[in-house]
Amino acid sequence: MTTTSPPVTTRQGVLELAQVSRWYGNVVAVNDVTMTIGPGVTGLLGPNGAGKSTLLHMMAGFLAPSSGTATLDGRQIWHNHDIYRQIGLVPEKEAVYGFLTGWQFVLSSARLHGLPSPAEAAKRALDLVEMTDASGRRVETYSKGMRQRVKVAAALVHDPQVLLLDEPFNGMDPRQRLHLMDLVRRMGEEGRTILFSSHILEEVERVAHHIEVLVAGRHAASGDYREIRRRMANRPHLFRVRSSDDRRLAAALIADPASSAVTLTEQGVEVQVTDYARFTALLPRMARDLAVHLWQVSPTDEDLESVFSYLISGSTR
């Protein structure tokens, strides 16, 4: 197992967005977002089209906020190329020169940073992502996962205190994914500020100690993964239940405070559940007592979109 460079303890690396909005014509991509990202691993979670890339690009100095400010340790990010001494960026696009070898690509990154020993730095970065063996091959021959890792190596070559990764785990096989997750976690433990975007909650909660949720361009929730999980579990759920006697079951369900509404349909009983834990314990017991056979119990709104919609409606209450 390779190791990362010595712990980063004296550096800051605090990214701050203050009332940041970004619009394109009449379309608002990011709407009045205020957040502070400090050392450690933060996951930027949201469905596709939520504005995650737009937000990351503003933090990376590749997009000017239409209003508000984006700063790193109090310094403006936009129009400030010196900021890249502190920032490493792994874009989502496969922004890699295919005609260069992995070694040439990472070495060019080290030389562009003006590092005193570029070859040494490139070797260390390639070791870190376990790409040393394949570094003599042209990037165009790499798999998507290998390209991703070589991009990470190029972004890490100058040992930045802030690392921004846009959907870094996309296209990686499970082993590569676990390896990169482990690397990101370790770098966060060393005191670096790491922000990565994802639309998969499980991915985010495995790596990030803190989660920022973005939905439809708005900052919907913020907290550690337990907090986000709890808020997701506490939201009202809609269940569809099919049984041997829907009417009888519906009458019993509406009498219990675990549900707020019960509707009889041709497909079965639709139950609006307000207390998830109570309902899941109650239903089988109730069916047994009523001598009703349960044929199907299925949540109807478990897709990510509805979970995110709930989070944003909860945050605006």
Partner: protein, 238 residues
């Protein structure tokens, strides 16, 4: 000027199939000159016509277009430009480096082939070869700057560039007297005319206008490119 940026850009331009685009027209010019020499023999008038219409009138703007847009537009299109821009290097330095690469490519491919073709037809007679080589050299540099700028201004740089090269430079610049003053092709011919003493050739734009115009256009385009790169935005795929 940044040597790493230059190195990557030269590799992208010369190490791939794109080099054939740069080689094709110069080779065509020299082959055409060789054929004309075989058919017509030593002929100054033919040489001047070939230089004016093909070397300066067609090849030069197209080489400028291939090199000028080629050093930057594909990188913006596929996002690889992020690799250069996410580094502590000032964007104007990147713009100047890209310009130097494009200008050097146009200068080498255009000037060498122009000299070879003119020399095949006239030898060193009346300064035709030297004059047009000089015109191709500096005209090529100006074209490289203009098309570099176009590459950062629009995602349709090649289409706009072809229209500019063929319609403005080819038709308007060639036939509308007033517009000739504002044509890089005419400025290049003005330079050629200073060296050449050929009776078959006279430029309509004075050197006093052509040289400052060339300098202003070249410097202005490179500075503007740097400013555009400073504000280059990524919109994301969302």
């Amino acid at each position: 000027m940044n040597t790493v940026v230059a190195d990557i850009t030269y590799r992208a331009m010369l190490g791939r199939k794109r080099i054939w685009l740069l080689v094709l027209l110069p080779v065509a010019l020299v082959v055409l000159a060789a054929l004309l020499r075989l058919i017509n023999g030593h002929d100054e008038q033919t040489a001047v016509t070939l230089m004016k219409s093909f070397a300066i009138g067609t090849m030069l703007p197209l080489l400028g277009l291939i090199a000028g847009t080629g050093v930057v537009a594909p990188e913006i299109e596929d996002g690889t430009i992020i690799h250069l821009l996410s580094k502590p290097i000032s964007r104007p330095v990147i713009a100047v480096t890209k310009f130097v690469v494009a200008a050097s490519l146009v200068a080498v491919f255009a000037a060498v082939s122009t000299y070879a073709a003119a020399y095949l037809l006239t030898g060193s007679e009346s300064g035709v070869a030297t004059g047009f080589t000089l015109g191709a050299l500096f005209g090529g540099i100006a074209y490289a700057a203009v098309f570099l700028l176009l590459g950062v201004l629009t995602r349709h740089a090649v289409a706009v560039g072809v229209i500019y090269a063929l319609v403005w430079e080819g038709v308007v610049g060639g036939y509308v007297p007033g517009a000739r003053k504002f044509s890089i092709q005419q400025w290049a011919q003005s330079l050629a005319d200073q060296v050449s003493s050929s009776p078959f050739f006279s430029s309509e734009v004075t050197l006093g206008f052509a040289v400052p115009a060339m300098v202003i256009v070249t410097v202005g385009a490179v500075v503007w490119t740097g400013q555009r790169l400073r504000s280059l935005s990524l919109t994301g795929d969302e």
